[in-house]
């Protein structure tokens, strides 16, 4: 069980993020009113990721404690993106909010991930998996990129929930 949570879940998350990001970008492009705004969205993501990265580094709590919530948070954002069916006018504002949340969580996750023992192993697997999955996805006729985004959101959410359940089990065993 520990092997799964330590080795495979971070891999799923990091590979999934890369695989899903093109679909997310398609959504974001639809939402962006101009190219300038589109790039600003990514600037917000980066600034926010820097903050998330740093928050992990200066955190005093055990590093693992927030990770399930990080996954669940990312999952929620992707699920919400999938749920927004109508493109109403306040969407750019919501997208900016999503970018900040995603950046923060991804920065934090990245900072945590590179400190894990399995990270070096992931690096190669990561690239190979991304490549294979992308080729696989290219053969799938897209009905809506939104369906991929929300599916990935659900996977992240389940990963987070699974880690939380595992944690509570571990703590009850140690008690």
């Amino acid at each position: 069980m520990k092997i799964i949570s330590e080795r495979y879940v971070p891999l799923v998350v990091s590979v999934g993020q890369v695989v899903i990001f093109p679909y997310y970008i398609l959504w974001l492009k639809e939402v962006s009113l101009t190219l300038t705004l589109f790039t600003w969205f990514f600037a917000a993501f980066s600034f926010s990721a820097a903050l998330g990265y740093r928050l992990f580094q200066v955190g005093k709590k055990p590093a693992d404690s927030f990770i399930p919530y990080i996954y669940m948070g990312m999952g929620c954002v992707y699920i919400l993106v999938g749920y927004i069916t109508s493109t109403f006018e306040v969407l750019p504002y919501i997208a900016l909010f999503f970018q900040v949340i995603l950046g923060l969580l991804q920065g934090y996750h990245h900072a945590w991930h590179i400190e894990q023992k399995s990270f070096r192993l992931h690096a190669i697997n990561h690239y190979l998996l991304v490549g294979i999955i992308m080729i696989g996805l290219s053969s799938v006729k897209i009905i809506s990129p939104i369906s991929f985004i929300s599916t990935f959101g659900a996977i992240l959410f389940i990963c987070g929930m699974g880690l939380l359940i595992k944690k509570s089990k571990d703590s009850s065993v140690s008690n």
Binding site: L33, L37, F41, F47, A50, R54, F88, E89, Y93
Partner: protein, 494 residues
């Protein structure tokens, strides 16, 4: 402090979470404040398809010629006569029915032709090139304590464009816009430059006004002006069936200069409630108050977007609108500022959908019966419908004897309607069906519809609305034998 420590302090500042947090907050707030209101791309383009404000009629055009000096434009018209190509005239392209371009032909872009040539304070006139916007005219005349006699409720249009559609606005005293033009210089379809007046025996003005750019290029106009009066705003809530009496009193009373009304399109009060806004003379003239700038567009747009959701949210929007209008009661405003309503908040940017305008004219004394009949063909709650009505404004359009293709054959109320619908073929067809039914009802009541908008109406409806169309066409063939001036609008209706 030792140098090494200083160095390390410098290194950590950009890694300080507080610094990063503040940086992020500042950035996010500035992006929030800079999110643009408008996404749509419309207008003239040679590399892509050209569209007008609605974007419903995209076409590829051959060439865009920016208006230089008048001899250049004259040469171009002469060349078109010889070479056999067509010219369309474009200003700011707020006309929505393909009036400003034509497939595979040349567009004359008049936006650069915008100089103020002369202001005569004594005689209260301004001579200005036709590509100038009303805003530019207002900026020129405001320091003299002068104001326009007739203009649209927003100042974002070009003078040439407004005259070509013989626009009307909130003023109820000075008649149609065409009546406020003392003199103008036109370039005829055969390439002659003529200065014409209303008494001109050749009646050029009658064809150029409301001529949709088909009878020549308006080069400059001399407009009659009036004082920049100060008005007190009076607002009142009415039932629709009280409006005719209210207006009859208002028009008898000379104190009111401008007026318009709004009709509820919210489900709970659909076409039953109205509010009116009157601008009452105070006897004061203003030379100092600056022209107002558009403010609060973002909030206005958000409120309108809420209303656009329909159902109970539209009821909420209507109630708020009434409160907002009530809060204006008793305020003072200058004539110039009353003539420059906000527009940015109306921008609509939903992919796959479009917001269009339609305007129906109805004889003043038919208003009550018409509104009552209208309730039978329109659903009060369009929340789940593709065809949605967001706004109906009522304006007064006085009888017009200045143009041939005139919409006000007698004193009329113009109902300006903001409509939203989808862009799929069946959605456009559905919109067309509803608008044609609406047009039939209007015709039944002795009214008509306005031509600067997208042509949902049939040719037959056009001919009934504008019985002088035949004469208009005959004159077009006589005055423009080579068909130099052409556009999609003409192609569709004639």
């Amino acid at each position: 402090m030792e140098p090494s420590q200083l160095k390390s302090n410098k290194q950590v500042i950009h890694k300080n979470p507080w610094f990063l947090g503040i940086l992020l907050c500042i950035f996010v707030v500035s992006v929030l404040a800079s999110i643009p209101i408008e996404k749509r791309k419309y207008g003239l383009s040679q590399s892509n398809l050209t569209t007008d404000y609605t974007g419903l009629l995209p076409e590829r055009i051959k060439k865009i010629v920016k208006a230089g000096d008048r001899s250049e434009i004259q040469e171009m018209v002469k060349e078109a006569n010889e070479m056999g190509y067509h010219i369309s005239i474009a200003g700011l392209q707020h006309s929505q029915g393909g009036h400003t371009y034509y497939k595979d032909n040349v567009v004359l872009d008049m936006k650069t032709f915008n100089k103020v040539l002369e202001i005569d304070k004594q005689n209260q006139t301004i001579k200005v090139e036709s590509g100038a916007s009303w805003e530019e005219v207002q900026e020129a005349i405001q320091p003299y304590g002068l104001a326009l006699k007739v203009t649209q409720s927003q100042s974002i249009f070009t003078i040439g464009g407004s005259l070509s559609v013989n626009a009307h606005g909130r003023d109820i005293r000075f008649g149609p816009m065409a009546g406020t033009v003392r003199e103008m210089t036109i370039l005829t379809p055969t390439g002659e430059i003529k200065t014409v007046t209303r008494n001109d025996s050749e009646e050029w003005m009658k064809y150029v006004f409301g001529g949709y750019g088909l009878f020549g290029v308006i080069l400059d106009v001399t407009l009659e002006l009036t004082e920049n009066d100060v008005y007190t705003i009076h607002t009142e809530e009415l039932k629709t069936n009280e409006y005719e009496d209210y207006f009859a009193n208002l028009i008898r009373n000379d104190d009111t200069s401008m007026h318009y009304a709004r009709v509820s399109v919210a489900p709970n009060s659909f076409l039953d409630e109205m509010y009116v806004i009157d601008y009452i003379k105070t006897g004061k003239v203003d030379h100092k108050t600056p022209l107002k700038k558009e403010r609060g567009a973002r909030i206005g747009k958000l409120a309108l977007d809420i209303g656009r959701q329909g159902g109970s949210l539209e009821d909420l929007f209507w109630e708020n609108q009434k409160l907002l209008i009530k809060s204006l009661d008793g305020d003072e405003v200058t004539r110039n500022n009353a003539m420059r309503g906000n527009s940015a908040f109306m921008e609509f940017t939903k992919p796959g959908r479009v917001e269009v305008l339609q305007e129906f004219f109805i004889p003043v004394e038919h208003y009550e019966e018409y509104m009552s009949d209208l309730k039978r063909i329109l659903p009060p709650n369009d929340k789940n419908d593709d065809f949605k009505i967001h706004n109906i404004t009522v304006r007064y359009a006085a009888k017009d004897d200045y143009t041939y293709l005139n919409y006000a054959k007698e004193d009329m109320f113009g109902l300006v309607i903001l409509i939203q619908h989808g862009l799929k073929e069946k959605e456009i067809h559905n919109a067309k069906t509803i608008i044609q039914e609406w047009t039939d009802l209007t015709l039944k009541h002795g009214g008509g519809y306005y031509l600067p908008y997208y042509h949902y109406q049939s040719k037959e409806q056009f001919r009934k609305s504008y019985p002088s169309w035949e004469m208009f066409q005959e004159e077009k063939l006589i005055r423009d034998p080579n068909g130099v001036f052409q556009n999609i609008f003409y192609d569709y209706y004639f």
